[in-house]
Symmetry: D3
């Protein structure tokens, strides 16, 4: 009866991709630990890029910097 | 000073129902463990059915299958 | 299919008390939202008092201060 | 590689304030524990006041009571 | 930069199995969403069976009942 | 009334360092958002290095590799 929480930035993951994550994690727990699929929960949280920080900066800013860098090339 | 996080699918829980959950959990922690009500936090997360999986499938799909099954009867 | 996470300080909750919390929360979710008991998960995390802070102080220190205050009366 | 999750009520925190929280927590973990900034994650969850309870009551109701009390003065 | 939290009951998962979960989830996020492996975090929490409830009962009790049932066959 | 959860690897953080984190985060939330210190919760989870993965590998293995690399210099 595992519980899995996947947190990603909200950047356009589709329902089909989320279904693939749910299936993939459920299968993995069955394969590695023999867990019962029917009582495996997977919850995906999509987080605004303003609300997710890495290296002390919001992802919003990191994405803007990466885009600017690409534009300059 | 307990912290309780309740995660449910976003399927129309009303403010009144959420208030009832908050009161009920707070009371339970007071009754069972003698916890101070004033420092008990309860946070309810409502999760889109596309983002919650059980048995390897998104709840969106499980609900649609259940509705279809009901329709067929 | 709710998921509930209860976090309390590790201060001697017994297995019987934890079973009472599990039953109580499961019943509450059934009563208030009609949730299916069989797919309700409740996970209790017991946290060392050094690792839990309120008001800027570890609970270890708050408990010691409360005990000292009681001793002084 | 710390992971920090800050949960606050959704009451108008700006992108600039959230960036300040991200930077502040990242710096704190570097100062106190020598953690590598580049692999420090900070995620901020903003929670509706109907979904956050303290002392058995939703914050929505606590805020309304506080406003009413201020109005009466 | 995904963050994944896997919660399972503490029932003897080995370090090798946990490494397999870490690798499997990281690969899945790369395959499905193109996520960068180097900033994917996976944290596994192992929870005592007294502290995990399903259907209103601690897993400790469910396991004992299942063992008793097997013994009776 | 913020709730902050700090997750770090279990690698010897002292009670004094954890108290410093608790105080620092509480102060930060007061400074940036005007949050009330007395209802700010900070919970620190220390996670075994076998149970924390980055880049698809358990931290246990990353630390061993780093130590080996240092030894070779």
């Amino acid at each position: 009866m595992p519980y899995v929480n996947i947190r990603i930035t909200r950047e356009g993951a589709t329902a089909a991709q989320k279904a693939e994550l749910i299936e993939g994690v459920t299968q993995l727990l069955q394969d590695v630990l023999g867990k019962n699929r029917s009582t495996t929960f997977v919850i995906i949280d999509e987080v605004d890029t303003d609300n997710w920080g890495v290296g002390g900066e919001p992802v919003t800013k990191l994405r803007a910097a990466a885009n600017a860098a690409r534009g300059e090339t």
